[in-house]
Symmetry: C2
Subunit: 431 residues, 2 copies
Amino acid sequence: MNIPSSNLPRLVIIGGGFAGVALAKKLVKEDFQIVLLDRNNYHTFQPLLYQVSISGLEPDSIAYPLRKIIKKGKNTYFRMAEVNNIDPNNQKVTTSIGDIYYDYLVIATGAKTNFFGNEVIENNAMRMKNLPQALNLRSLILENLEEAVRTEDEQKRKELLTFVIAGAGPTGVELSGGIAELRNHVLPRDFPDMDFSAMEIHLIEGSDRVLPPMSENASKKSTKFLEKLGVNIHLNTLVKDYSQHTVSTNTGLTLQTATFIWAAGVTGAPVDGLQADSFVAKTNRYQVNEINQVAGYNNIFAIGDIALMANETYPKGHPMVAQPAIQQGKHLAKNLKRHLKGKDMLPFEYFDKGTMATIGRNKAVVDLGKLRFAGFFAWFVWMFIHLWFLVGFRNRLVTFFNWSYNYINFDKAARLIVRPFKGSNDVIEKV
Amino acid sequence: MNIPSSNLPRLVIIGGGFAGVALAKKLVKEDFQIVLLDRNNYHTFQPLLYQVSISGLEPDSIAYPLRKIIKKGKNTYFRMAEVNNIDPNNQKVTTSIGDIYYDYLVIATGAKTNFFGNEVIENNAMRMKNLPQALNLRSLILENLEEAVRTEDEQKRKELLTFVIAGAGPTGVELSGGIAELRNHVLPRDFPDMDFSAMEIHLIEGSDRVLPPMSENASKKSTKFLEKLGVNIHLNTLVKDYSQHTVSTNTGLTLQTATFIWAAGVTGAPVDGLQADSFVAKTNRYQVNEINQVAGYNNIFAIGDIALMANETYPKGHPMVAQPAIQQGKHLAKNLKRHLKGKDMLPFEYFDKGTMATIGRNKAVVDLGKLRFAGFFAWFVWMFIHLWFLVGFRNRLVTFFNWSYNYINFDKAARLIVRPFKGSNDVIEKV
C-alpha cells in the first residue's frame, strides 16, 4: 500500500471512529510512523446519525474527512481499506489493498448492530450504525409516505404509516421521538391530502423501562415525553420475528409495518486472526488490561467499543458509547508517548461525564452524576454538548444553523430521497 | 394514484425542474386541480450540480422538496412517479404508479446527456445531469485519488491522476476549473505523500473556442483563467472513443485516464406516445408554437428544455438553460389563467438576462447584452445571482456559508465518499 519505510516505529490504527481519531490526533507529531486505516474516508459522528434518518441534518454535517483530521502529521498516512486479518506472528495486517507490517497495532473497529442470531430480522430490518444506513432509512421513511398517499388500499396504507422501532436505548428513543415530531409538525403540511391520525409509532423494549442505561428519573421523564408525542411504548416485550411486513413479539403483539427498525443492541466488530482467548465471544469484544493491551499480546491494543476492560466499577466493561472511546484513545496516546521515553504505562481510568438523550423539541433527559434534569434546559444542554463535540468548525456551524432553522420553522428540511432504498438491493446497507 | 375527482379542470405537469416548478408555483391558487409528477421528490438546482461533484457543496443544499414548493395549493397534488406514456386520444398519462387522466397536460421533462449515438462512450463515461450522477462523480474523483496514493504502479497512478472532460460549455469549464482548484489548493494538504505535479486536467472542445455559446471576450478570458489554473485545453477536437481507460480523438490525441466526464451536449428527454410530427427528431424536443402548445394538440403544452419554439431570433429554439424554462413556466401560467377567463393566450417572448460561467476563485465571465466583464466582479455577480435563484432560504444560507468557508480557507469541505462508485454497478447513474 505504498507506505515508505522509516526509522520510526510503525503504529497501525484500524478504524477512524471516536477512539482511533482521538488516538491519532494526539500522536501525529510524535516519533511514530502512523498508518490510519478505515473503510471510509470520513469520520462519522454517530450520536447524530438518527438526525440524518429523520431529515433533520444533511449527512455531510456529521461526517468529517479523515485526511483532514490527521493532516498535521509529517509521518502520518491514511489509507482507505477494509481490514481482513491480523497475523500477530508476522506482525502483519491483511487488507483489501494489500498487507502492512506493524510495530504496534491498535484495533479501534467499534461495534455493529447485534441481531442476537435472528437471521430473519437481520435480513429484513432496517438498521442505523453508519451513514449509508442512516440515509437508507431516511429514503425508506419518505418512500413509504409517498406510497401511502397514493395507494387506494386502506390496509396497505396502514402498514406504510406504521413505524416500529425495537430497542428503547438512546437510538430507539431519539428515532421514535423524531418520527413522531415529523408526524406532528412536518408531514401534515407536506401531505395535505393524507390523514395522519392513522400514522402510528411503536417503540418496543425488552426491559421494564425506556432508556435502561439511564436513571429511573430519566426513564420516567422520557416516557412522559414520548407519550406526549404520541409514541406507543411496549415494555417487557421482545421482538421475535419480522417477516411479510409483520412484527411479532413474545407477548403476542403483532404489528403490520413497512418500516421496522432494529436498534436493540450492538456487538463488537472484531478482526479475524488473534488467538481465541484474547476475545470474549459473548460480546465480540477483545479482552484488554488496564492499559488497553489485548490479552496475550504486548504490542496489540484495543480501544473504544471493541475493547472490554473489566474492573470493579465496570465488571462488564465500559458502556459502548463515545466517551469511553475518546478517553481511551487519548489515554493510549499518552501511554505510547511514555513508552517511547522508556516510562511505564499508566492504567486507564474512566471519567463518567454523564448520559443524555433527546426526545424532541424542548424535550431531553440528562444524568450528570447525581444531577438529573429533563425538559427545555436538558434539551439545550444536549444541543450544546453535541455541537461542541462535532468535529470541525464548518460542521458545527452548519448543524447549528440547521437546528435553528428547524426549531423556528417546526421543520426538517432535508427530506429528500436522493437514493431510493426500495428495490435498490443495496449491499452497503448490510455492512 | 388516488387523486380525488373534482369539478376543476385537471392540469397534469410532468417534471419538477425549473419550468414545471415555475408553472406550478404560479397556479397553485387558481381554479385548476394540479397534479405534479416527478421521478424524484425534490427539485434540483442544476447550475450548481458541478459544485457537488467537486466537493464544494452538499447535495442537500441544491435540492428542495417538491411538496414544500407546492404546499400552498389546496387543489395541488404531488406524486412521485416515472412517466412512461402519453395517450392523447384518451387524455391519459401512464406512469409507474398507475394511470392519470388530464384536461390539460404540460410536459416539462427537460433534457438528458447527449452521446450522439456513441454507445461505447455512453457505457463508460461519467455524466452529471442529476444529483445521484453528481454524487457518483464526487465519489469517483475521491476514490481515484485514494487509489493513486496507494498504488506502486507509476503508469496506473498517472491514469488515476488524469482527468479528462469532453465539452467546454459552462459545465465542462466549471468542472475543469473546479478540479484544477482542488489540485492547486485542497489536495496537496490532504495527500502530503503524493506528488500532484503529475495530476493533469484536460478539457476537450469540438469548436474553436471554449464557452461557444458566450461572447468572444468571455471565451478569451475564460481560456486565460483555465490556463492559469493549469487546465490543458484542446480545441477543434472531437472525442471518438473511451475504452480501456483511453480517450482517443479525431486529432490523434490519446489520453490515459480513469475519470472521463462527458459534458459535450444535451438532448431532450421526451415521453412516448405523441404523434411523430409533434417532435423534432434531431434534438428530441417537442415542436411548440408561440404559446408553447405542442404541434398537433390543443391541450398539451411543453415548456423548458424539452420545448423547441423556433422563431426569427432563435431559429433553433431557445438555449437549453434555466432562464427560458423559468420564463416559459411563468408565461404559461399567465396564459392558462387567461384561458380560464376565456381570454386569448399571448405569445411568449424570451428576455435574455445574460449568460455567465465561473472558472474558479475570483474568476468568472459574464455577458449581459453588450456589457461583458470578467474576473473578480464577474465572479461576485455569479455568486450573487446563483444564491438569489436557489430555492429556499435555508439552501441559500447554507450555500452562502459553505462558499464563504471554502473561500476563506481555500477548501472544499464535502470531500466524502458516502457511497463508493467503483464496483457499485449503480443503475441510477445511467438515467
